[in-house]
Symmetry: C2
C-alpha cells in the first residue's frame, strides 16, 4: 500500500471541509482589506530562491533539476516570488497590496506540528514606508483570526533596529548580529539558559550576555514600556528610528482596533535575515508556536533587481490555525458537507428523483442522490451515516399529489412539501 511521502499527509473530506472553511474566511478578510491575488509558480529558479535565504533555509529547499538541467526549487515561502514579480513589473501601481494562499515546502525534521508541505496565507503591502502599513498587515491578520472565532491571542512586536542598537551599545561585532538575533529568537524554545549557551558559543562575554539578556527582557503594554526603551536608546540613531516606527504601529493600532492585543517584546528577533524594521508574531497560548508572523523588508525588492521599494507583510500558518481551532472545538459545529439527499421510494420514480436533484443543484443547494439502486431503507441508512441534513423522499403516491416528503435528519420530523415550494423550503435562510 502506498502512503503519502514522509512529512506530507492527506486530508480526508471531514478535515478538508474544515480546512477549506478556514482558508475561505482568511481570503474573505484579505479581500475585504483590499489585498489582491497574485499567482506565481510552485517552483522557482534555484538562483532566485537562494538569493535572500540564509544557509538554514537553503538546506531546507526541495531542490531539483528539470530535464534540461535547469536548477529549480519548490517555493519555501511566498515573499521571494512577490519580490521577483514587483521587481520585474515596475508598472504595478503602488501601494501594491497582494495576498497569496497556498502550499509551501520545506525539508525539515517532520513532526505532528511541523509538516514538509504546509500552507501559508500571506498579505503584504509594497510601496509604503510609513508604519501605517505595518499596522494594516497586523490588522488584517488580527481580523482574520477573529473572523475564525479566535480570541485572546497576543501580537508581540519589536523592531530589528532596536536589537541592532543593543549590539552597538554593547560594542558587539556587527558581523555577529544575525547569529545573535537567531540565538535570541529561540528564547521561547530553549529558555534563558539555552540562549546564554548559544551566545557564549558565539564568543559573547559573560558580562555582555548578562547585559543583553537584561536589555531584551522588556515585555508588556507598549505604551507603558516604550518610555524606558527610549531612555536606554537615547544616544542610538538607529535605535530611535526603530522606536519611532514602533510608536507609529502602537498609535495606528488604536485606529485599526487591535491595540488590546499588542505586546511589546524586545526579545522578539525573528530568525529571517532580511527584516529591516518592525517585526511581529501572533500567538495563542503556547508562546513558542506562532500562528502568524511577519515584518518589514525594505531592502529585499532591490536585491531582486527592482527599484528600492519599502515593503511589509504577514504570513498566517494555516495548519497551526486549523489545529488551534480544532483544539478549541471551534470547528465542531461547522455546517459542512452536502445538505440534501434525494431518495427514491421505488424504481419507478428514479427518473423523477434525478430531475428533482438536478433542480436543487442548479439552484445552488448541495444535493446528492442514490447512484446504487438501493432500497429505500438502505438509502435512508446511508443518508443517516453520511450526515446529510435533509432527505427528500420521492414516492409515487406523493408525486401524484404533486409533492415529496422531506425529512429533517436532525429532528426526525417529516413533512409533505409541494414540488413548487421545495426550493424555498430547502434554501438556506
Amino acid at each position: 500500500m502506498f502512503r503519502p511521502p514522509r512529512g506530507t499527509r492527506d486530508y480526508l473530506p471531514w478535515e478538508m471541509w474544515r480546512r477549506n472553511w478556514v482558508i475561505d474566511r482568511i481570503r474573505e478578510v484579505f479581500e475585504a482589506y483590499g489585498y489582491e491575488p497574485l499567482g506565481t509558480p510552485a517552483f522557482e529558479s534555484w538562483e532566485m530562491l537562494k538569493l535572500k535565504s540564509g544557509e538554514d533555509i537553503i538546506r531546507e529547499i526541495y531542490y531539483f533539476k528539470d530535464k534540461s538541467n535547469r536548477e529549480l526549487g519548490l517555493r519555501f515561502e511566498w515573499t521571494a516570488s512577490l519580490c521577483r514579480v514587483v521587481a520585474s513589473h515596475r508598472e504595478l501601481p503602488k501601494p501594491f497590496k497582494r495576498y497569496a494562499i497556498g502550499p509551501v515546502w520545506r525539508y525539515e525534521r517532520p513532526s505532528e506540528k511541523r509538516l514538509r508541505e504546509f500552507w501559508q496565507a500571506d498579505a503584504d503591502i509594497v510601496g509604503v514606508a510609513d508604519p501605517i502599513a505595518d499596522a494594516e498587515v497586523i490588522s488584517v491578520a488580527v481580523d482574520a483570526l477573529k473572523r475564525l472565532g479566535l480570541e485572546g491571542f497576543k501580537v508581540r512586536i519589536n523592531d530589528r533596529r532596536i536589537l541592532e542598537a543593543f549590539i552597538e551599545l554593547l560594542e558587539l561585532p556587527r558581523s555577529l548580529s544575525l547569529d545573535i538575533f537567531r540565538a535570541i529568537d529561540k528564547l521561547n524554545k530553549i529558555g534563558v539558559d539555552g540562549v546564554d549557551r548559544e551566545l557564549s558559543k558565539l564568543g559573547v562575554s559573560e558580562e555582555k550576555r548578562g547585559k543583553l539578556m537584561k536589555l531584551i527582557d522588556v515585555k508588556g503594554e507598549p505604551e507603558e514600556r516604550l518610555g524606558e526603551v527610549e531612555e536606554i536608546l537615547k544616544h542610538s540613531e538607529v535605535g530611535l528610528q526603530g522606536l519611532e516606527a514602533l510608536r507609529g504601529v502602537v498609535e495606528y493600532s488604536g485606529r485599526f482596533g487591535f491595540k488590546p492585543h499588542l505586546l511589546l517584546d524586545l526579545s522578539l528577533a525573528r530568525g529571517l535575515d532580511y527584516y529591516t524594521g518592525p517585526v511581529f508574531e501572533i500567538y495563542l497560548g503556547d508562546v513558542s508556536i506562532s500562528i502568524a508572523a511577519g515584518g518589514r523588508y525594505d531592502e529585499l525588492i532591490q536585491l531582486y533587481g527592482g527599484d528600492p521599494t519599502p515593503a511589509t507583510g504577514i504570513s498566517l500558518g494555516v495548519e497551526r490555525i486549523v489545529a488551534t481551532l480544532q483544539e478549541l472545538g471551534v470547528l465542531d459545529d461547522l455546517r459542512i458537507g452536502t445538505e440534501v439527499f434525494v431518495a427514491s421510494a421505488s424504481d419507478s420514480v428514479r427518473d423523477k428523483a434525478i430531475e428533482i436533484a438536478q433542480r436543487l443543484r442548479r439552484a445552488g443547494i448541495s444535493t446528492d442522490l442514490d447512484l446504487m439502486g438501493r432500497s429505500l431503507s438502505k438509502q435512508l441508512e446511508y443518508a443517516n451515516r453520511r450526515g446529510f441534513r435533509k432527505v427528500v423522499i420521492v414516492g409515487s403516491r406523493e408525486l401524484e399529489r404533486g409533492g415529496v416528503t422531506v425529512r429533517d435528519m436532525e429532528t426526525g420530523e417529516q413533512r409533505f412539501i409541494p414540488l413548487e415550494s421545495l426550493l424555498d423550503h430547502l434554501s438556506p435562510h
Copy 2:
C-alpha cells in the same frame, strides 16, 4: 531580472481575479453536486506515480530526490492520488464522490496553450459500476461550464470496449491496441492521413487501416447512430458491453439534462492507458482542444492495492476554460477587484477615515484607504486609475453634519450619506 521558470507564468491581479472567479464557480457546482474535497500532497513517491503511467507520461513527470534520497515526483494529474487514498482508506463510505482543484505539472514542450504548470479541476465517483455515474460526472462538468457562461459546447462520447471490439473484429494483435488507440486519438490533430501513417508504422495492413478508419468514422446524434454500431458489433461480447454502457449514458443524459450536448464519436480514444469503459471529451469550437475530459477506470484502484472498485471521473482544464472565456469576452464585465476606496480630504480626518474603512471591511465590503498621506486630488486620481467603484470622501465639514460624501466612480454622481446608513448604502444588493 529573474523570470518564472520556462513553461510557468505569473498571474497578475487583473488575471488572477478572473481565474479565481472561474475556479470558485467550478467548486460551487462540484459542491452543489455533492462532491467532497480531498487533499493530497503536491508530490508523491516515484514508485506510485509511475505505476499507472505509460512511457509518454513517465517522461513528463518532474522527478527529484529529497535529501534522504527518496525518489519523488510532482503530481501530473489527480487520479493516481485519489486511487492511492481510496486503496488505503477502505473505511471511506461508497459511493465516494470527491473533487480536487489545483496545479499539476508536466514537463512538455511549452507553448502559449500548453504550460508546464497548469490547473485541473477533477470530479470523480468511486464505487459505482452503473453508467449513471459516468452520466453524473459529465453532467457536473456540463453544469460547471454553463455556470461559467459557456454554451454550444459538445460532449463527445465513446466506449473503450467498442474500440477493443474493432481490434478483435479486424484480427489485429491485442498487444498493439494501446498504440492503435494513441494513433486514433491524434485524429483531430494530425488528420486522417496522419493517423493512417501512424497505423502503417505499427504494421497495420492497408486493407485493415481502411476498414478501421471506416469503423471509427461514426459521428453524430447517439440515438440515431447507435443502431448501426449494434449491427457491426453484434457478435462481439466486449463490444456489446461498451454499447450497453453508452446506451445507459445516453438515457441518463436526458434525465440529467445534457442530452443536447452529446455527440457519439467512435474515433474518440483518449490516450491514457487505464480507461476501461465510457470515455468522454468536451470541446468548444476547435475540436483538437478539449476543455474537459475523462472516462471510466474500473481496474485502477486494485492496481494501487485496494479492493476491486469501479470508478469514473472528469477533469476540467482551468487554463483552457479561462482562455476560452476570455476569447468570448465572458470575463470582461466581471465585477472584480476592490469595491470601495476611503479618501481623506485633509490630514485632520485621517484617523476617522481609518475607522470608517475598518467598519466597512468588518461588514465584508472590500475597502482600501490611502496609506501614502496623499492630497485629496492625488487620492481621487489613484482611485480612478485603480478602478474602485465607490469612493468615500471623509471631510471635516461633512463629519460635523454626521456623514461623508460617496462618489459613484461609474456615474460620477456624488451624494452626502449619513454615517449610520453608510453600510447599507455600500452593501452589494
